[in-house]
Each structure stands twice: as C-alpha cells, then as structure tokens.
C-alpha cells in the first residue's frame, strides 16, 4: 500500500486524481444532470454527502464487517445515505429534486463512491478516510460545476437562471440536451489533457540539460 500524507489524501481527489476528469468515474450523473449550474450543484452536494457519510461508516466498521459480505454491506450503507439525501432534497428543494429525478437514486451505483470504500475507507483510519472522501467529493463537485457552467452559458445563455446576454442571444439548445453532455465532457477532457501534456513537456525540457540519459540497449549490453 502506497504511503501518503494527510494533505495528499485530501488534495489528491480534488485535482490530480479528479474522479471525473482523470479517473473517468461517475460519468452517468456528470453527463445527465449537468445541464444547469443549479442541478450540478445539487447533484454535487448530494454525492458529497453520500460519499463522506459512507466513508465514515465503512471506515468505522471495517473490522466488524466480514470480508465475504463487505460489498453488500457497503452498498447497504451507501443506499441508506442516498435514500436520506433523496428524501431531504424532496422536502427542502422540491423543484431541484424534480429536475434530478431518478439520478439521485442512481448515486447508489456511482462507481466513484463504491470505489473509494473498497480502495481506501475499508483499509485506512477514520480521519484519513474522511479527508479522502472530502477531497474526492469536492473534486466531483468541481467537475460537475465546470460542466454545468459551460452547458448553461452556451445552452441557455444564463448562469443560475440569471440571463447573461439578453434577448439577442440564440441559445445552443444542443448543449442542454444529452449530446451536449458528451460534447462538453469531450471539450473539457481535451483541454485537461492538453494542459497536462504541456506541463509534463515543460518538465522534460527543463530537466534535459541535467537529466540522466537512460542507457540504450547496446550500451547496457
């Protein structure tokens, strides 16, 4: 098991191992409900709550849960938190709950959440698991908000329902339709990949004068 510092546990999920942008996990809600900023935010908060709650419980009870039924137990814990989130959203923000529809219930099968339980919370102490869940949940929310902002601006000409361009703007309806989700994710992944490649290239260039040359096959032999 790779040893990490608490800071790494927290920050890793936010950017370097962002669940959506790097690990490509949780794409179903990321594509389906990011047509407006408000929906993205609600889905981000709901997922954050489920992830943090489940990580806390899984980490607390990791010694009690037998290895053979751990996945069933994790799903049970996650499903309980999802049901709570579903009911609370329906009671507190009914309009947003109506928009998100079935996708709240589908948080149960978000691989990102089950993945963090199996890979991290079931093996680490409670504090570290909480940090990891907070980081990953925040990273997920950031990715969703990026997509939601992009799609609402182009598809509806507004942010959080506030019109940006006035009546002269003809909205690109495709961006709030399902294909717009794929297009947006594609553009964001492209930008992200380009940025990472540029960064690694600049590191290579900087290292070049002092870098240790790898021995070629002939030299090694």
């Amino acid at each position: 098991m790779r040893e990490t510092t608490p800071q790494q546990d927290l920050i890793r999920g936010i950017w370097k191992e962002n669940p959506v942008l790097v690990q490509l996990l949780g794409l179903c809600p990321a594509l389906a409900v990011t047509n407006t900023v408000a929906n993205s935010l609600a889905m981000g908060i709901a997922t954050f709550f489920v992830l943090v709650g489940s990580s806390l419980l899984v980490s607390t009870f990791k010694k009690v849960i037998p290895h053979e039924v751990r996945i069933s137990a994790y799903i049970l814990i996650i499903a309980t938190f999802v049901t709570i989130a579903d009911l609370v959203l329906a009671a507190v923000v009914p309009l947003i709950h109506k928009e998100l529809g079935a996708f709240i219930a589908l948080i149960v099968v978000n691989c990102m959440i089950l993945g963090r339980q199996e890979a991290f919370a079931s093996k680490r102490p409670i504090g570290r698991s909480l940090l990891d869940a907070v980081g990953t949940g925040t990273g997920f929310m950031i990715a969703l908000l990026m997509m939601g902002t992009f799609r609402e601006i182009l598809g509806n000409g507004s942010i959080l329902g506030i019109s940006l361009f006035g009546d002269g703007f003809e909205p690109w309806v495709i961006f709030i339709l399902p294909p717009g989700g794929f297009l947006t994710l594609g553009f964001i992944l492209l930008a992200f990949g380009w940025w990472q490649e540029r960064k690694s290239e600049s590191v290579r260039v900087r290292q070049w004068p002092h870098g240790v040359a790898t021995p070629s096959r002939e030299e090694a032999a």
Binding site: I77, A79, P94
Partner: protein
Amino acid sequence: MKELPQVADDQRTEPEPGGGPPGGPPQSPERPPTSSARLITTLATAGGLAGLVIVLVFGWANPRIQAYRAMVLREAIQEVLEGPESVQTYYVIDGALSETPEPGVDTITAEKVHLGLDAEGQPIGYAITGQEPGFQDYIFVIFGYDASADRVLAMKVLESKETPGLGDKIMKDSSFVAGFRQAAALLEGVKSGAGSGSDNEVDMVTGATISSRTVIGIINHRIEALDPVLEAAAGDGS
C-alpha cells in the same frame, strides 16, 4: 529442439511449495472462513439499522413533501379554473360524485375532481387531473373543464420529464398552453397553422408532436371517462 532463453536466477518463478501453478496469480493471504451465522447477523443488523434510519428521516420529510404537493395542486387548480372563489373536492365513487371518500380509501390517491365556484356560488367548472406516458415518462396534466358547455377552460402540465428544449415546450410554450383556453371538447391536435379554424382544434408544438398529442389525449380520455359522471351530478342539481 530450440533452447529456451535463459532466465536470470532472480527472475525465475519457483513452483509454490503448496503445489500452486507456477506464475499463477498470487495467492491471497489465507483468511479463516467466517461462519454463515455471522454473515447473516451482520447484514441483518445493518439492514435493520438502515431501515430504522430511513423510517425516521421519512417521518420528518413526508409531511413536507405532501404539503408541497398540496400547494402545487392548489395553485394549479386556481390557474386552470381562472381564479375561483372557492373550491370543493369531490371523490369519484362508482360513477357518482361524493363529498366524502369511501371509508378506508387513501384520500391522496383516490380519484377526485375539484369543483370551482365563483363569488355567487355558481359552478365555474371542474379541475381534473390525468396522466399518461409521453415521450420520456408519464406526463401529469391538470385541466379545467366546463361540463355544461363541453369546453376546456385551461390546461397546465403538473409534471413531465420531456426533453428539455423540445418536449418540455408543452409546459413552457405559452401559445401551446393558450390554445387550450375555451377549446371545445373533444380536442383535436393539428399541425401548427394547418387547422381549419374549428374551435376544438389545438395547435401542436413543432418538434414535440408526441408530447403534444399525449397532453391532448390525456384530456380527451379523462373527459370521455368523466363526462357522464359530471353530467349526472349536474342533473341531480348538486
């Protein structure tokens, strides 16, 4: 026979002492098997606790959810009956209207109509709800209906998951919604601008034919089903 390339000593895979296949997947460290009773107890306890938590949260959330639904319905009734002075709810039981529900029937799911009365106590019309599958999911509609004149007063979509930008125009397109005002029953959906001018025609939304047709269908089916009941009630003088 060709000699196999020599493998360095430190890379050679030794057969496991236990007789496992050489180079096979690494054996996971042996865990003592957990008894079935313990597995069942763990999951049952977890399930019981989860159920308890959900029941508690549901107890807190349900009154709020129902209150919101009731508020949405009240507002919708006001809208489709164009501001009645008072509203009287009737339950539909065996083809007749009754002010009291059948004993033991859930008042929320029971079939009912809402009669709007004006300031003089004269009936304006009934607010009737209906639902049918549209393009994506069920479309829930409420409409005002004047049974004596056989006219639809107004229509409002309570809930739909139709495609944003296309099918959801049945809620957002004001000219489509306005087309139901004072339309004669039964309605007939026509392509926008292709109607003959008859007062039972409703212009459908371009690009949302299925959603538009569903809304018109819901209203027609509910009128067909309820018209005899409402006329019988009017005949009784109630």
